[in-house]
């Protein structure tokens, strides 16, 4: 039997490691990003709209990548939010228990499918479908990637929203029914508002997830950084750019290599802000029921 103290110290070190990971991420990203900003002006980076670090005439306007990320994330949410919220309302308010207990785990399968699979599906199934509808749509386009990403994120929105709705006390629903409300009125005017903090936080987490998603956009959305909101043309997201550089033989220490740290730092800051916001929303706006 090891002395108690040694065990306690070992356990402490392990748990401290989780904090070290965060420190490590920040340190690694900052270290290379600072070196990057020694060569490229921060202002140019954050306001420029042309991103061509891999060409001979290099430009470092990250907004081209941010636009791609924004475009795919917004479109993905346009799919995931309404479908996810309505699915959550169905599961929480309408579905009989038996139906719910089968449908909910089935929906969650969608969240467990690896993203590379969705990428495959987007490029080889959804894109040809879209191109059958309109010839203006390029082989690589933001729309196809975003729609599939929306489907991937949907169960996250629906599961978390449903949890929030089911936490709304039954007595609140009864109060509304007792005034002559229909089921729809109870759902929309009472349950959803009462669960709003949980729904909002689910939504923010889903956006953060969409921003950080990598493989679907890498495979299906293209590698053409472009400052546009046109969903039919090839674009490139921040994450896809990192993959693009990682796949090539970019020598460590070169400016091209350092770009991925600057982009990753921006990505990290954005997603961290959203995650913190999501936690804040849950804590701050939760109605206290007894």
């Amino acid at each position: 039997m090891l002395p108690e103290r040694v065990i306690a110290i070992f356990l402490f070190l392990c748990s401290f490691l989780s904090i070290l990971i965060t420190i490590g991420i920040v340190a690694v990203l900052l270290f290379e990003a600072i070196s990057f900003f020694g060569e490229v002006s921060f202002l140019e980076f954050i306001t420029g709209t042309r991103w061509t670090p891999l060409f001979s005439s290099k430009q470092f306007g990250v907004l081209a990548l941010v636009a791609g990320t924004t475009l795919t994330a917004v479109l993905a949410m346009a799919v995931a939010l309404p479908l996810g919220l309505l699915s959550a309302i169905y599961l929480s308010e309408y579905a009989p228990r038996k139906v719910r207990s089968t449908v909910k785990p089935t929906l969650e399968i969608l969240a467990g499918i690896p993203t590379v699979v969705y990428g495959y599906f987007a490029l080889l199934f959804v894109t040809p479908l879209l191109r059958g509808i309109s010839e203006d749509i390029a082989v690589f386009n933001a729309l196809s990637a975003a729609v599939v990403m929306g489907v991937m994120i949907l169960p996250m929105v629906s599961s978390l929203s449903e949890d929030a709705m089911r936490a709304v006390p039954r007595t609140l629903r009864e109060g509304a029914y007792a005034l002559g409300s229909t089921k729809m009125e109870v759902s929309i005017f009472v349950v959803v508002p009462a669960a709003l903090s949980g729904i909002a936080s689910a939504f923010i987490l889903a956006v953060s997830r969409a921003i950080g998603e990598t493989m679907i956009v890498t495979i299906a959305a293209g590698q053409n950084p472009r400052f546009t909101l046109n969903p039919f043309v090839p674009i490139e997201t921040m994450t896809a750019y990192i993959v693009q550089v990682s796949q090539g033989d970019t020598p460590a220490g070169s400016i091209e290599f350092k770009t991925i740290f600057a982009v990753a730092l921006l990505l990290f800051v954005i997603t961290l802000a959203m995650n913190l916001l999501s936690q804040y929303v849950v804590g701050r706006f939760r109605e206290e029921y007894d």
Binding site: F12, L17, T22, L124, G212
Partner: protein
């Protein structure tokens, strides 16, 4: 008496009834769309990939010829990387959860650590790849090896294990601990003999979920520098490697239809493995619940 005129009420009632039905339909439609997408995805994959699955697909290396290409290297790479990730994440995750729940519960440190873990769970996976590249590959000189890949994924899935283990430990009834303490057991004896055995099903469920997540990850390993074309199986922890999702990615990006079929076949293999693992997790969880509720 009524403040609402009968005509207003009746007019409204017809409209509300109609809208209620339409809304119900809309909700059903949403669930239907989601389930249909899942079905279409799976059917499409089966159509595309089933014919390519055979013994030689599983036992051949990648090839320039689509009809000869197989997933042997990727499969072994995946297995090795995931085992390393699982073992490391299990050890670190359980140790962390034990410390936060049993040793430092409700301390300031525990609170900070938990917030931190929640945020780590939201960090995009590709950022972990960059972390792995800088720490394991370049600073610790592990190279773009199986070991570096396993460690990278271990960090990525660590929050999943910690959260699952914490919940499982919290679910152990305090009376069990108190009983053991009353008999003069030391803290570690209580943890080792009482808490860990009771929490094990919950912990293992979390580990399985973590390992399935690790098995499906592509981006962090690409960022870390895993290969995309590997004609050998890793023979040591320091070998270079590829994994199944990267192989699938690689094949998907090729224009030849043969490779796309190979990608579908690879996906089917991947999904079958994930399905088996998740079924295991479900069974474990069911057992876990029966134990406490039954």
């Amino acid at each position: 008496m009524a403040v609402i005129s009968q005509t207003d009420f009746q007019k409204g009632k017809a409209r509300r009834k109609w809208m209620g039905r339409a809304f119900h339909g809309l909700c059903l439609l949403s669930v239907g769309i989601a389930l249909t997408m899942l079905a279409v995805l799976l059917v499409y994959l089966l159509i595309q990939g089933t014919t390519r699955i055979n013994w030689s697909f599983l036992t051949s290396f990648a090839s320039r010829h689509p009809d000869q290409a197989g997933i042997k290297a990727a499969m072994f790479g995946s297995i090795y990387v995931v085992i390393i990730a699982g073992v490391v994440a299990f050890t670190l995750g359980v140790a962390t959860a034990l410390y936060l729940e049993e040793y430092a519960a409700r301390s300031k440190f525990a609170r900070l650590a938990k917030i931190n873990i929640a945020n780590l769970a939201g960090v995009p996976s590709i950022v972990y790849g960059i972390l792995g590249l800088e720490i394991f590959v370049r600073s610790l000189y592990l190279g773009k090896s199986v070991l570096a890949g396993g460690f990278t994924l271990a960090l990525l899935v660590l929050p999943i294990v910690i959260v699952a283990a914490s919940e499982a430990i919290q679910a152990v009834p305090p009376s069990l601990r108190e009983g053991a303490y009353a008999l003069g057991a030391t803290r570690w004896q209580v943890v080792w003999r009482m808490v860990i055995p009771q929490a094990m099903p919950g912990i293992m469920t979390g580990v399985i979920l973590a390992v399935s997540r690790a098995l499906g990850e592509t981006a962090p390993l690409i960022a870390m520098g895993a290969l995309t074309f590997v004609p050998f199986t890793p023979d040591s922890p320091f070998s270079r490697f590829t994994v199944l999702p990267i192989q699938i990615f690689n094949w998907t990006s090729r224009p030849q239809e043969g490779f796309q079929e190979a990608a579908a076949a690879g996906i089917i293999v991947l999904l079958v493995v994930l399905l088996v693992m998740n079924a295991g997790a479900v069974i474990l969880r069911a057992r876990f619940q029966n134990k406490w509720e039954g």
